[in-house]
Symmetry: C2
Subunit: 368 residues, 2 copies
Amino acid sequence: MTPTRTSSPVLIVGTGLLGTSVGLGLRRLGVDVLLRDASPVALGLAADYGAGRIATAPTAAEAAPEDVPRIVVVCVPPDVAGQVAAEQLQAWPDAIVTDVTSVKAAPLAEIRAAGIDISRYVGSHPMAGRETGGPLAGRADLFVGRPWVIATHETTTVAALQEVEGLALDLGASIETMTAEEHDDAVALISHVPQLLSTAMAERLLDDEQGAAALAGGGLRDVTRIAASDPTLWSQILAATGPRVARILRLLAADLEGLADALDDIEQPGARRIVAEHMLAGNEGVARIPGKHGTRRTFVSVTVMLDDTPGQLALLFKDIGDAEINVEDFAFEHSPGANLGLASIAVVPEVRQKLLDKLDETGWRVAQ
Amino acid sequence: MTPTRTSSPVLIVGTGLLGTSVGLGLRRLGVDVLLRDASPVALGLAADYGAGRIATAPTAAEAAPEDVPRIVVVCVPPDVAGQVAAEQLQAWPDAIVTDVTSVKAAPLAEIRAAGIDISRYVGSHPMAGRETGGPLAGRADLFVGRPWVIATHETTTVAALQEVEGLALDLGASIETMTAEEHDDAVALISHVPQLLSTAMAERLLDDEQGAAALAGGGLRDVTRIAASDPTLWSQILAATGPRVARILRLLAADLEGLADALDDIEQPGARRIVAEHMLAGNEGVARIPGKHGTRRTFVSVTVMLDDTPGQLALLFKDIGDAEINVEDFAFEHSPGANLGLASIAVVPEVRQKLLDKLDETGWRVAQ
């Protein structure tokens, strides 16, 4: 078994999607996992599914030594996360306690209000999820390659921080450290506002008496996919970041009104320019989202047309390699019915000209 | 060669993404395709790529008999589509002329304004596209399984309608017939408004000084994907449906303001209910979008937990088959680290209870 950073045993309180996924991921590494849930059905399913063993003692005073957790991971809905974390801090006086709730300022305030020592508490938020919930949606690899926000506060101990970092790293996540306030500002923008925009768009389809939705393409599907999210969960999440989200929604509403004014009077001087400027700003904004592998989208692509004969790709790569050009990404496409294949070569912008020169020199046909 | 509904030769005017895709699709069926484009480079690439042969004569008077098209497909940008279609109607007095522009009322008005007989003109709009443009993005299968709107007007002849229907069917599309006005209302809702919402969301990321975008999950990526679309093309498209789009944007802006009011005062009675009601309406709206295969999402799923032993799936399907239950969709998931597999069985709602009864009777473990 690989050595782990996480100390055994771990107690998971709440065996829904996230709790079960944490359990499955830790069990795979050989960590001893104890499970608790208010619902005996969810608890039994998670244990059967392999997420850990069912905890029997609710506090350190009642537990056998091997059942006293070193770290407690609270995976309950947002409206009770603070209260449950405070209870766990009191139940296990030597354990580090974290939670995985998608809001961070409100639970911290609730724990503070309980008047207990919070140096053993570290808030966290793995940026991972699925459209379906419940223990059976759990996956051991849910957190792999995903950001895991760790929200420290002024009395967080280094030991507590390191324990939670170890947990996140063991589960394959990458760590982002910030305050609870910074976290909530960030998720309002990148998660809560997109959720409500998607919802508002989907809601407009209820006015559609012509059945226009039958013509829907990929764009509408993408924009509205998360409109299928759980209303109860989201009402709780949004209650915790309300004014942060409201501020951005008002900016968006103003932008949409401005666009509507321009579109209502599109033949007026300047109206088309307003539309084009919004489109350009949108292009720029979307480019700020990192690509799949956590890199910003800063590659440029060059497309080469290849004859449909064997060995062409090998020759192309030999020529590129001879010039010591590093290919960041590569795609090859052969449209059914076409005589040619298209090789798309992504490189960092600095070497684009070098690549073009080499392709020219070696006689490859570059698509403009 | 399969017999085609489309008459040879076909003239494609404009060899960008759509024109080249129409050409590749028709060439695969053995249809004789002529190509024209204002750009010699785009024209040469499309011809080399296999989309057809380069047309030499611009009008019937100058063309050899075998180079006189039976149908002309205008695939040029929206702002010139009407004008080019009118020119083609005059250049080829016996040809049916269609265009594939994403707006339909404006081109029709332009053709009407030219004062010519429009009984040979039929507007159309294949609901297909890609994020990249140009001839080399063309694909013979671009239209397969996609809706193809055919916009008739009061003097469209049956012969013209049938010719364009044949073209759409030959390319694998499914036909939706409506008026130009109905079409433009539909695309404003399902395409132009989602585009601007996605753009407005992406634009908000420009305010992000903390680098919150680095935490972006699948939701933000989906909502903003089409914000990367071409500003020039979209400025033209939006100019043609301006007031239709503006009306819906104003409704959206009002919804966002209402949500912002509720979120700013989330502890007030009724505020959480407003948020939850929007979320529920969004759930309902997104359910109106047909699934991949053109069916509405009306299936219900039942999840069965399977032991990790060979032959379990075969046994499960035998039991379901014995009950004469039709499985509409099926997914099997085995989370790494889990002891169990999960079989998700989708059926029409009417047989859900029958399936549950059969599973119970045969001793399968159903996940709640």
